[in-house]
Symmetry: C2
Subunit: 226 residues, 2 copies
DNA sequence: ACCTGAACACCGTTCAAGT
DNA sequence: ACCTGAACACCGTTCAAGT
């Protein structure tokens, strides 16, 4: 019975609202991933949310891989181009920080980008911008190439902080202190690090500060090799 | 009928061969992932390969997440510690290259490591080694902390080359040349890069060279800030 | 041309039952 | 203590049928 009423809804929607389209599907998929996490993004749930039969999606999307390619392209296209700064460092820095801001809005996106075999059109456009900045600054083709590699995932705004530092992944203060004391026994070098941070755990660092440190270190290194 | 004979086999095995254990399960899982890829690693296939009922695994492993935690720990434990070199740079370099060699043997491992929320015991041991190298070299706690972050996934041997450069992902030469000409129209900076590489495609770079370039750039940068 | 529903071949895991 | 099988609640996708 809910089945039937859903079918009626979808019939109504198809006539009175915008019909199904690839863009509408991709937008809904991004929204679903933002709201419920990427692991909750299934063809079936996505169809349900659009008020449509699961198989209807396949008229606009080849398969789930194609859907993932599509939402990556949508997200990367959100990265706003940076204005030209006084030197290549500041333009490149702003470009990469703009990418980071976009990726922080879609926390699932970094992982999905990594899982794609090839760059999407918007990703190519973004890489082109990065290459243009360094080539215009006079980098040799070879150094520009190295730059693209060493900047790695930073080009797309994520630095691969391997473990979860997020607020809600942190234990409460006394648990963190206990952990730090235990760590100090078996892993003294990590222990002293944990003891020095604000909350006594291994997390608790400022991601923005760490990202900027790494980015500037790389920009400096490239400048010296330039 | 195959069902029944499998049950008999498993009964036989349980008496004549080593019984099921967490270690045996993890070893089989690593082997399965090595041979057929991580996407083929399911609880059901793993049980089948061990000649055992799927649910038997749950006596030694809490759930699939626990299994993934386990195989990450096994792989990272394979990283051999580096001997002390003449300076901290060479010791750290060798430690990170050792990690890279291990991760290259298990191409699926980098992605699984990234998906874990917290470092495994062997990962902590490895990070402890890295921290010990820089602290023994006189790095301040703060700089050592930054170092761990900026080295990022390189500590575990992967540099996050975002897109597939592998041999078999490369198109044939004439197709690559065509792609390069098309790229040159819409993305001139990427086009000139593609034209300059050996096969005319965007891939075709030497991953080892790129990894070493990035690693040395970071080591130099850390040295200057030291 | 687009949408649908039934069906197939998979998943991970709970639970009650066996030894 | 360990193992098992049936069962549940999911997946992605093929295919034949509808409009």
């Amino acid at each position: 019975m809910p089945r039937r009423s859903a079918a009626v809804d979808s019939g109504r929607r198809a006539r009175t609202e915008t019909p199904l389209s690839r863009d509408r599907i991709l937008a809904a998929a991004v929204g679903l991933a933002d709201r419920e996490g990427i692991e909750s993004l299934s063809m079936r749930k996505l169809a349900h949310q659009l008020g449509v039969d699961p198989m209807s999606l396949y008229n606009h999307v080849r398969d789930k891989e194609d859907l993932l390619d599509g939402i990556v392209d949508v997200v990367v296209a959100e990265i706003e181009p940076a204005a030209n700064g006084p030197d290549w460092q500041s333009t490149l820095r702003e470009t990469i920080l703009a990418a980071r801001r976009t990726l922080l809005r879609h926390p699932w996106a970094a992982r999905v980008i990594e899982s794609r075999a090839a760059p999407s059109p918007s990703t190519l456009r973004h890489m082109e911008r990065v290459m243009d900045i360094v080539r215009s600054a006079g980098f040799s083709l070879d150094l520009a190439h190295h730059a693209l590699h060493v900047l790695g995932s930073r080009v797309l705004g994520f630095s691969q902080d391997l473990f979860d530092d997020s607020e809600d992944a942190r234990p409460d203060p006394e648990a963190a202190a206990l952990l730090a004391r235990q760590l100090a026994v078996s892993h003294p070098r990590l222990g002293e690090l944990a003891a020095a941070t604000h909350d006594g755990g291994l997390g608790g660092c400022d991601d923005d500060v760490e990202f900027a440190f790494g980015l500037d270190l790389i920009l400096d290194g490239l400048d010296r090799r330039h």
